[in-house]
Each structure stands twice: as structure tokens, then as C-alpha cells.
Amino acid sequence: MGNFWSGRRRHNYFHYPPPPPPPHHHHLPPPYYYSAESHPPPPPPPPSQGYFITNTYVTPPPLPAPPLPPTSHPQAHSFSYPNGYSNCPNYGNSMTGRYQYQPYYVNQGTSGWPAIRPTAGPANPPPPYVDHQAAKKVKNDVNVHKDTLRLEVDERNPDHHLVSFVFDALYDGSITIFYFAKEVETCKFIPLFPEVEPVRIPFHKGAGQNFCQTSGTGIDLGFFALDDLSKPSEGEDVFPLIICAETYSRTPSADENLSESTPDVSPNMQITQAVLEKNGSGSFQVKVVRQILWIDGARYELRELYGIGSSTAADFNDSDPGKECVICMTEPKDTAVLPCRHMCMCSECAKALRLQSNKCPICRQSIEELIEIKINNSNQ
């Protein structure tokens, strides 16, 4: 008895991401990124020396920017893991387990402002079988934790606002704060309003540093229209707030042959582009739109990966549902689906899944690429 109803319409909330590990929120680490950035190398050896930043990018598919599926909104957002670095039990302080990968090279090695792949495209026929791409790690020398970026009133100068955030740096370097600036060539910015000069502040290397702009160097935002502050302008390449974090020097590491003496070595820089919104209480809220990484002449755009945080195989615990592949519930997750960015499967299950479906198990968007991310490898 009781079998005469059906749930086709009423139960939408079950159709969407069946969040795999419901009762374990406190185990879920912060959001992750795919793109050429990241932090804690897998099982980060206690942030002793230099290895606390590891980045991962993905070998470029030889295709033009693939179109995104028609419905890209209901997407992952509801499924992203709670923020908060302190939530992540897997890592030491600083670089609490975020990884960033990038699926495509966006303009390798040329100067100028490369085209960014479109964020929407026409619906296309189902993608052909796409085999795994293996993610490869790159290191970035400096990382601004984007969700720590704040704009606060300068108490000694109440008309002015100061920038603060948490960042990690492998080397000494500097932070430059621009307002309404445009990137004119690789890593060079021109302020739209010449009277608003960029503020450059040097830093020493170290993880988990608090950056607080010194009193008196802030900006009077009254100078700008709220509307202009709240969005990028001019074809989206002028942002109201830009934080450039740059390292001065870089000791050559095993995997690269950087000629230190060359004066115009391409900079290693992380660019954080943000807009400012005034909230109800009158204070400004910083919303990071994008983070870009320049490493050895290559530009990477950082994107979040959902679910990767809970899967470092290093301390993979067989009984923690957040870390396991949603399909076999046995192996640690190591494969992310693009474009929806759900890190949810082990590579074996991903292969098996592709034989019968091209839908992401979490959100049902079409799978265009599978990226295998071995965060626990010690081989790099």
C-alpha cells in the first residue's frame, strides 16, 4: 500500500547534489581551487621550509575553450563546502589545504591581456568521451587568502579605508594595492585615476601572515561612485580593487631552471581582483571576483574545486564519508569533474562512470573533462 504517489516534482531538493557527508560538516575544509594555485602540498610536511605552497595546473587540452553547458548556475554553489580555514583538521596552520588547479592554459607565455575563456557558450552536442587529464603541480610563491580580504575604516582617519588579509609567501616580496587599475601588459597595472596612486608595501616570507595596511596610507572611497565600486568595468578588465602580491626573488628549485641573474625574469605574482559592496551597516564588503597567477610567464586563473578539501589521501580515514569517492565509498577522491568542478570520485570509478554516463554524479551536468589530482604524491 501507499505506492500511489510519485515524486517527480516535489522532491527537487533530492535531485540536486546529494551532499555526501551530511553530518560531518566540521570535518570539511575550506573551499578549494582549481587553477594554477594552491597551498598545502598534500600531506604538508609541517610547514617547515618552503614547501607549503604547491600549485597544480593541468596540462592543457589541445582544444579551444570548450563551451559550458547551458545550465551552469544551479551548479555547485549549494554544494561548496563551508569556509573557514580553522575547520580543516588535516593541515597545520597556514596554508590549510586549498588547492587550485587550472584546466586550461590561458595564453601561455605571451604578454598582454590574454583572452579569458568564455563563461558561457551555446549548448553543444554531448561531448565526446574525454579521457582523464592528469593534474600537474606548479608552485606559486605567494598566496592571498581571498576570503580573508577586508576593507576597514582607518580609525585615525575615518574617511579612509585600509586593506587587510592573510597571505603566505615563500620569499620576500611586496604587496601592491591598486584602485581602478587596468592590466596593460603582463603584470603591469595602470590606475585609471592617476591621482589615486598605488600603495606598495614590502613583506618578508612566511606563512599565515596578516597583512594590515598602515594607517594613513588608505583610500577615501568617497572619491568613487558606489556603483563603480561594485563591479568591474570596461570589458571587465578594470577592477575597483586589485591586490598584486609579488615575490622579488626565487631560488631555483629542482624542477625549474630559472636564471636568477636575468633582470627581466617574468614575475611570479598573484593578482586578486575584487569589487566592493556597501552593506547595510555602511561598511564595505570585499568580493573577490578572480585570482590570477603568473608563474614563469604563464598565466593561470584560479578556480575553486568543490570537495577536494576532504580528500587528502594522506590521512584518508576509511570511515570518513567526506573523503571517500562517492561511488565506491572506498577509495579517496582524486578526480574532479569539469566544468562543474566537483571533486567527487576516485579515478577508477570515474573511468567506470564514463563508460555509461557523461553526467557528474553530484550535479548531473555534462562531464567535459576529468582531472585526476594526486594530492598525496610526494614526487613533486
Binding site: 500511489f4 510519485s6 565506491c328
Partner: protein, 139 residues
């Protein structure tokens, strides 16, 4: 024998269902076939099925989790085209429980009952209550 080659996932799901059962839902595997579950779902409070105990049989086909569990005549999209291997026995049973809270007469298994439900919800609710009492109460 069916149990000798049980995938880890099924073992884990079973363990979790037994150790942390969802409120109002019990699912226990049959002893001679671990892919076969006896399920009981309590009628949700505040629903016409309150006080009822609904027994179901759930079977995990060989292809599970790539294929959905088999569950008799229940119209639930996640058991058909909306199945995803990320769903589990638990999520399926929760969906059925939710269905008991909010029947969907637009996609009925029984045309008559659905018509009844749509044209006279109050009376249909009464019928559901009565049937719950008659057929789904007690053990």
C-alpha cells in the same frame, strides 16, 4: 552466493544504515542475500500517513551503484532517469519518506487516486488516513 562478492560500498552503506539509522527509517539486509533489504518507513508526523508503518523491499542490482536500487512500484525520478551513483540507499529512503509527506498527484501511479486527491484533497487525505490505519498500522 550473492554475499561472497559484495562490494565494499554495499557493506559500508549497510553498516552505516544500521549504526546511524535515519529517523523513522529502518533498513536491514536479508541474511541470505545482502543485496536485499527489508525496509520500514514510518508515516511522517503531520502527514495523512502518520501512525502508519510502510514496508518496502529494496534490492541492489548487480550494477549498483551505477544503476538505481530496485524498489517496487514507487514513482520516484531518482530511481529512474535521475539516478546518480552518488545517491545511496539512505538518500533513496529519505526521498520516499519525503514523498509520504508530500504526495505528488501530478505523477501518479494510480490515476483514480490522483484524481481523487486533486479534486478533493481533504477527502483523499481522510482516505489515506483510513488506509494507513487499516493496512499500515501495527506490525
Amino acid at each position: 552466493m550473492a554475499n561472497s562478492n559484495l562490494p565494499r560500498r554495499i557493506i559500508k552503506e549497510t553498516q552505516r544504515l544500521l549504526s546511524e539509522p535515519a529517523p523513522g527509517i529502518s533498513a536491514s539486509p536479508s541474511e541470505d542475500n545482502m543485496r536485499y533489504f527489508n525496509v520500514m518507513i514510518l508515516g511522517p508526523t503531520q502527514s495523512p500517513y502518520e501512525g502508519g508503518v510502510f514496508k518496502l523491499e529494496l534490492f541492489l542490482p548487480e550494477e549498483y551503484p551505477m544503476a538505481a536500487p530496485k524498489l517496487g512500484r514507487i514513482c520516484l525520478d531518482i530511481l529512474k532517469d535521475k539516478w546518480s551513483p552518488a545517491l545511496q540507499i539512505r538518500t533513496v529512503l529519505l526521498s520516499i519518506q519525503a514523498l509520504l509527506s508530500a504526495p505528488n498527484p501530478d505523477d501518479p501511479l494510480s490515476e483514480n487516486i490522483a484524481k481523487h486527491w486533486k479534486s478533493n484533497e481533504a477527502e483523499a487525505v481522510e482516505t489515506a488516513k483510513e488506509w494507513t490505519r487499516l493496512y499500515a498500522s501495527g506490525a
